[in-house]
Amino acid sequence: MFWGFLGRREGSLLRQFRLKVNGKEVQVEAPAGITLLKLLRDYLGLTGTKEGCGEGECGACTVLLDGVAVVSCLLPAAKAEGREVTTIEGLAQGEKLHPLQEAFISEGAVQCGFCTPGMILSAKALLDNNPRPTKDEIREALSGNLCRCTGYSQIVRAVEKAAEVMARGE
């Protein structure tokens, strides 16, 4: 398949993107060469996903693609075509926050908040596969996410707490 030649400037060649975001089918027209991060933030208005370094080092832009944590800044939006993306906006159910979100608040794991969406999605990818992780497993799962307020201890505690809450089925 060939999408055609794209100009250097944004908007010179548009393409339809069809994908599932937070459980909803979406169809949006956007420049063909953009990243998933830009598609989410600028074309779908989902600004919960953050751009930190823009080159896959910091994890602020982490989203789940078919349930797997990926850095959306290094993912051409076209690669998400026909797949399911979960962002931080997709975790709460109505007014009820996800146990991870609740735990990040109660454990003081949020300072400036810029790394938080990525941290929570990396943690969700972990807990979905390993509901009762050890501290080391949590640290390993979050090793691709940087926090410059250095709240790592609280973040690890928050993930442990969320795991407990989820295990109790609350």
Partner: protein, 294 residues
């Protein structure tokens, strides 16, 4: 916004090699975690990309009846880490894969991309070098098999002829049966960092006390990943002892062409080669059934 001028998607190897032959400017993209950063930094402008991600025949890891292990180049680092064939037969490659990037990068980045990117710091390279991995390359003219040691030509340069793509990474049974290995990545941070030095050691121990074979693979010790032929030749047939291991470490340095970068000086890297080769070898000896050497 990436400066991407065109984006092609191939669904078969034949379609990919044909597109590559027709347009020499095409850059192959698999996971994209290296290529997109180069575009982001402006090192590649007006990029014309050929995505091979949809080519099913480049996926999967399998062991053939004759014992050969075939690794599809689209295997992600996460798949390598979790694959039962790799874990059982060549765990040294899983150890190396686990040292690469962080979970999000390992979920996307592929081993084929790691090799074809041509970096001396490729985390898979020292392990693949000691396993004598062979690479199957396919183009419109046919296919050929190249030992990985010959594939790396220089920094960022590999022996891919115009129109060729990497289709298989092959590990033969004579290169892993009876061997055990150990990999050490030395970097400032455990995650999300590039190696200051990568050391893979594979060894075979005879009667619990004699080095039947020792192989040493190094990353970031020269412009390409490399082996240490002098140290390996010295080791053959020697009794396992602290003195012999120390000499192997010293000789390993002779094969290096380390340079100074902001990450580490040449002298520091050489010191690491001598020290970490010994540590990796000592760990490999124990895994291969030999006595622990203090």
């Amino acid at each position: 916004m990436y400066d991407i001028k065109a984006y092609f998607e191939a669904e078969t190897i034949d379609e990919a090699t044909r597109l590559l032959a027709d347009n020499p400017n095409l850059i192959v993209i698999a996971g994209g975690t290296d290529v997109l950063i180069k575009i982001h930094h402006g090192k590649i402008q007006k990029a014309e990309l050929l995505s091979i991600r949809k080519i099913k025949s480049l996926e999967g890891i399998r062991k053939l009846e004759d014992g050969r292990i075939i690794i599809g180049p689209l295997s992600t680092f996460t798949q390598i880490i979790n694959d039962p064939v790799i874990k059982e037969n060549i765990p040294i490659l899983a150890e190396a894969a686990l040292s690469m990037g962080g979970p999000q990068i390992r979920n996307v980045a592929t081993i084929g991309g790691n090799i074809c990117n041509g970096a001396t710091s490729a985390d898979s390279a020292p392990s693949l070098f000691v396993l004598n991995a062979e690479l199957k390359l396919k183009g419109q003219q046919g296919e050929r098999i190249v030992p990985i040691q010959d594939f790396y030509l220089g920094p960022g340069r590999v022996d891919l002829k115009p129109g060729e793509i990497l289709t298989e990474i092959i590990i033969s049974p004579e290169n892993y049966i009876g061997y055990a290995g150990h990999y050490i990545k030395f970097s400032a941070r455990k995650a999300m960092d590039i190696a200051i030095l990568g050391v893979a050691v594979l060894c075979k121990i005879k009667e619990g006390t004699i080095f039947e074979d020792v192989r040493i693979g190094l990353g970031v010790a020269g412009p390409t990943p490399l082996r240490c032929p002098e140290a390996e030749a010295y080791a053959k047939g020697k009794s396992v002892s602290a003195q012999v291991i120390a000499e192997i470490g010293r000789l390993a340095v002779k094969s290096t062409k380390a340079r100074t970068s902001w990450r580490a000086s040449k002298e520091y890297r050489e010191h690491l080669v001598e020290e970490l080769t010994q540590r990796a070898l000592k760990a490999a000896i124990v895994k291969a059934g030999g006595e622990e050497i203090a």
